[in-house]
């Protein structure tokens, strides 16, 4: 039930993202709404296997929704999940500013991973500076809306609160 809810919420976020994409002036300002949700999975009480599987499904849905080469977002989102989980981020609970900072970092990770994949598979020249501007601006946009996504994800029925600092 919780898994289905998370996937449904991810799907809603993708729909909203598609809508926002039409409204904003530049695509660079369009937030990647799935990123905060994956970060929420990474720092929440989900097992590694379950969280990675959910991240995989969310990445796959993002691939389908964004008409990107299949596997691009799937790989990237799973990589982000693992990065966040392995980094053992505990600052998440310390307020909105940390959520924004974490999401900005996550956005950068997503952008860099995608750049890496592009370099590996496309083997075409890329304007690195311009691409970094796009990645950074999209990360900022994502970070700014991330508290909303976190707030909704926390309130989904059956979803445990994110992990607090380990006391035992």
């Amino acid at each position: 039930m919780t898994n289905a809810l998370m996937i449904a919420f991810g799907l809603c976020l993708l729909v909203i993202q598609g809508m926002v994409q039409r409204l904003v002036v530049s695509e660079q300002l369009c937030p990647m709404l799935v990123v905060p949700l994956v970060l929420h999975l990474a720092v929440g009480e989900f097992s590694l296997s379950r969280g990675a599987t959910l991240a995989f499904v969310l990445g796959y849905l993002t691939d389908v929704a964004s008409s990107m080469p299949l596997g691009l977002y799937t790989f990237t989102i799973v990589a982000l999940f693992l990065f966040a989980r392995l980094a053992g981020l505990k600052l998440f609970l310390h307020g909105m500013l940390f959520q924004i900072a974490l999401t900005f970092l996550g956005g950068l990770v997503v952008g860099l991973v995608m750049l890496g994949l592009h370099v590996i598979f496309e083997r075409t020249a890329l304007a690195v500076r311009a691409t970094m501007v796009v990645v950074a601006s999209q990360s900022v946009a994502t970070a700014l809306v991330s508290p909303l996504v976190f707030a909704v994800a926390r309130r989904l029925p059956g979803v445990e609160a994110p992990r607090t600092t380990d006391r035992n």
């Binding site: 729909v15 039409r22 296997s49 599987t53 995989f56 389908v64 299949l70 596997g71 799937t74 799973v78």
Partner: protein, 298 residues
């Protein structure tokens, strides 16, 4: 704990990372370079991809249509409002055009009329079963209006001022039963008195006291005679619409349709001359031309 359970997380992570990576590699290669494993991956995942894409496309399509419909509704409301504004603007322009046309004709009439006059605006109508009285505003020439002054338009005689109150004056129309205009048939010079019949459903008049032997035909124009010094001679009053001759009696019955459409009166000219001045030759040339312009006499 089995070996799988022990390394489950690691295996899951490797598979979940490796599968999309490998699929990405396979899908970005040209089909000719696909190896056996590539083909197997594509073959295995393609149906899944197809189902996923179809479902996602369906969801996104429904959403797109919904959003699109919202835009359409908003556009509809905006366009309706614009259309209403445009219609109102068009109506204002039409009104302004009509007013401009009337004022131009009035101005032309004033220029062509060698009698001192001023323009006035009809501000109210008072139609009763017994009297047909129009009230005319005389704003430009306050205090100059006097009883008996003729009121005309480009089409012909309207009536005469009958009572002045402040800046306003009442005008008794030619079609009023109290009205009496000394007139003549322009073609033959046969004289009579035009007075209104006071019909409720239309403006009509009769040319009374016309000798039974006088030659009058339907379509003849009736103009003011100038006698009695009430109206300048030659003002167009109307056109003969019916002639009835009895077997006996002195007079014949002649129905006259007023030249002016009183229901559409807007701007008028008030002539200053009568009753103080009724010299012959003051006939406005425009008035003389009016019958010919609107059909003329046979």
């Amino acid at each position: 704990m089995t070996l799988f359970q022990r390394y489950r997380d690691a295996i899951v992570c490797v598979v979940l990372l490796g599968l999309p990576f490998y699929y990405l590699r396979a899908s970005t290669r040209s089909p000719g370079h696909l190896g056996e494993i590539d083909r197997a991956v594509v073959a295995l995942t393609s149906p899944l991809h197809y189902v996923g894409t179809t479902i996602a496309d369906g969801i996104f399509d429904v959403w797109d249509r919904y959003v699109y419909l919202i835009h359409v509704r908003r556009d509809n409301e905006r366009l309706r409002a614009e259309a209403a504004r445009s219609r109102a603007d068009a109506q204002r322009y039409r009104d302004a055009y009509e007013e401009n046309r009337r004022l131009r004709r009035l101005l032309q009439l004033r220029v062509e009329t060698p009698i001192e006059s001023w323009a006035a605006q009809v501000v109210a109508r008072d139609t009763t079963p017994f009297f047909r009285v129009n009230r005319v505003a005389i704003a430009a020439d306050h205090g100059r209006a006097r009883d008996g002054m003729p009121v005309i338009t480009y089409d012909g005689l309207v009536g005469k001022i009958d009572g002045v109150v402040g800046r306003y004056a009442n005008v008794t129309l030619v079609a009023d039963t109290r009205s009496a205009v000394d007139a003549m048939v322009e073609r033959t010079g046969a004289r009579g008195i035009v007075h209104g019949t006071g019909e409720q459903n239309r403006y009509s008049a009769q040319l009374a006291y016309l000798q039974r032997t006088d030659d009058v035909r339907v379509g003849d124009t009736v103009v003011t005679s100038g006698l009695g010094c009430r109206f300048p001679p030659g003002l167009l009053v109307g056109r003969v619409s019916a002639v009835t001759r009895q077997e006996f009696g002195l007079y014949q019955e002649v129905d006259v349709t007023p030249a002016v459409d009183f229901s559409r009166l807007g701007e008028v000219l008030v002539l200053v001359v009568p009753p103080a001045d009724c010299r012959p030759g003051l006939l406005p040339t425009t008035q003389r031309r009016t019958p010919a312009r609107s059909g003329g006499t046979p």
